[in-house]
């Protein structure tokens, strides 16, 4: 077990293993996303209140779920890097941060687009919207801190510490924003409470969520591989690899 983890921690091994895994995840992601979008956007019944605008849910909800998972994943990778000094974990964390920020932005943007026809406004200071916005700022902070250091190792460790601090704070922020909102404007938005979704509606949603996750894994694998090549470019195996592909190409 430990031997396996140590092997996985070595960039060379990870590079080899991820080469085998990555096509599967890409294929699965494309398949699920295609099936999910066509099913959700074309075949799922339209909502009796919101009409077709509810179909934004098939992008909005997966993005929002992923935005949160990414932060947790990033923090876990940060712990692994801080405690066991496994470089792969940090490379993954570096790659996940912009993706998570992008997903948070997608969730906010699609929410705004959805808000216009349903609530009649692009933005409300609703608890969930607000905590999502704060999460975007946390992501941007982690990315900015990593980039601010001249030495990559210090930047990595600082970003890991900040990701950890952030992940401890996210539940507190969520809780306080919930409290704040119920304090100031009690339940203006009952429109969000739809009747329980019928199966034809949530099954495509489930497919989309799984598709987004597969896309996340596939993209992380691919980008981590690039990061490995970049950071380890002085190593012999990378040089041989590059020379080999150059000759073949």
């Amino acid at each position: 077990m430990w031997a396996f983890i140590h092997k996985l921690g070595s960039p060379k091994w990870f590079y080899a293993i991820s080469a085998r895994l990555q096509p599967w995840f890409w294929a699965l992601a494309i398949l699920l996303l295609l099936v999910g979008s066509v099913w959700g956007l074309v075949f799922a019944p339209s909502d009796y209140q919101q009409g077709n605008s509810f179909r934004i849910i098939y992008v909005h909800v997966p993005a929002a779920i992923l935005a949160q998972s990414c932060f947790v994943t990033m923090a876990v990778a940060g712990v692994i890097f801080l405690v066991w000094k496994i470089k792969i974990a940090d490379m993954a964390a570096a790659v996940i941060a912009p993706f998570g920020a992008a997903m948070t932005f997608v969730a906010l943007f699609s929410g705004a687009v959805w808000g216009m026809p349903t609530w009649g406004t692009w933005w409300v200071w609703d608890a969930r919207l607000t905590s999502m916005l704060i999460q975007l700022f946390l992501y941007l902070g982690v990315i900015a801190l990593r980039g601010a250091f001249a030495s990559r190792d210090s930047g990595s460790r600082a970003a890991s510490v900040l990701a950890l601090v952030g992940v401890v704070n996210i539940p507190i922020i969520k809780y306080s924003v919930d409290w704040w909102n119920t304090l100031h404007q009690p339940a203006t938005f009952t429109l969000t409470e739809r009747p329980a979704m019928p199966v034809e509606m949530w099954l495509p949603l489930l497919v989309m969520v799984l598709g987004f996750y597969c896309f996340f894994i596939a993209l992380t694998l691919t980008r981590t591989r690039n990061e490995i090549l970049r950071r380890e470019s002085a190593k012999r195996w990378v040089r041989e690899l590059v020379a080999g592909t150059a000759r073949r190409g």
């Binding site: 801080l82 704060i134 700022f137 946390l138 941007l140 902070g141 900015a144 801190l145 601010a148 250091f149 001249a150 030495s151 190792d153 210090s154 930047g155 460790r157 600082a158 510490v161 900040l162 950890l164 601090v165 952030g166 401890v168 704070n169 507190i172 922020i173 809780y175 306080s176 924003v177 409290w179 704040w180 304090l183």
Partner: protein
């Protein structure tokens, strides 16, 4: 040859750190006074920018006072470790045989004593100028005193992470301000509740809980961040 350990325990080390930091800060009075002036100045801007109408001002005063105090605390953070980093005494602190989180905690304590506490004491005066009801002054000061201790602790993490960077100012705000939001909500909420004739005790209790959590966790994060900054 046997090395003779000085008979200094943790208590002595903490007391020495507190005394040293207090002395240093009190010799640079302007650094202590600047956040307070900033606080007063920002509060002066709001009636000018919004309206001198007392009713309107009274309604938004809790939020204004809290946001201004929060920004004043945040601006003072950069000096928390900067001087020690520049003259090398931060490295001595890291090398000392005493646990770093405890020493760091005493530095944060001094920061709070000279920033958070004066801000809390000054807030009622500015509240008076914003036509805040007199009955809410005690809760305003108490909530700021409790909350600013959390702000100092959380902010010190950011200050420790950015102390090694030559231009960390704006970055520091970017890191720290999102983490301040829970404190702001309950701090301003406490004052708001008093104005509406409610009971502020739950809000103050949660501010206290946040302080406990910050006291428990942040010294470790600050210590880890300082180690990173020194090595990098």
């Amino acid at each position: 040859m046997q090395v003779v350990e000085p008979k200094a325990g943790l208590g002595v080390a903490i007391a020495a750190t507190v005394k040293r930091d207090l002395t240093l800060m009190l010799r640079r009075r302007s650094e202590v006074i600047n956040p307070l002036v900033f606080f007063a100045l920002v509060i002066t801007l709001f009636p000018l920018g919004i309206s001198p109408d007392t009713e309107l001002l009274a309604a938004i005063a809790p939020g204004l006072l809290w946001v201004a105090a929060l920004l004043a605390t945040q601006l003072s953070l950069d000096t928390l470790f900067r001087g020690d980093y520049d003259d090398g005494s931060l490295e001595q602190l890291l090398l000392s045989p005493q646990p770093l989180p405890a020493l760091v905690l005493s530095k944060v304590l001094v920061h709070w004593l000279l920033t958070g506490l004066p801000l809390a004491l000054m807030a009622p005066v500015l509240g008076l100028m914003l036509a805040l009801p007199v009955g809410s002054f005690a809760v305003l000061a108490l909530s700021l005193a409790l909350g600013s201790a959390s702000l100092s602790l959380i902010g010190a993490i950011g200050a420790a992470l950015t102390v090694g960077l030559s231009r960390g100012g704006v970055l520091l705000s970017l890191l720290v301000l999102p983490l301040y939001i829970p404190v702001l909500i309950f701090g301003a909420g406490a004052v708001q509740v008093v104005i509406l004739d409610g009971n502020a005790a739950p809000h103050l209790a949660i501010l206290g809980a946040q302080l406990c959590l910050a006291l428990m966790l942040s010294p470790w994060a600050i210590a880890a961040a300082l180690r990173i900054s020194i090595n990098g």
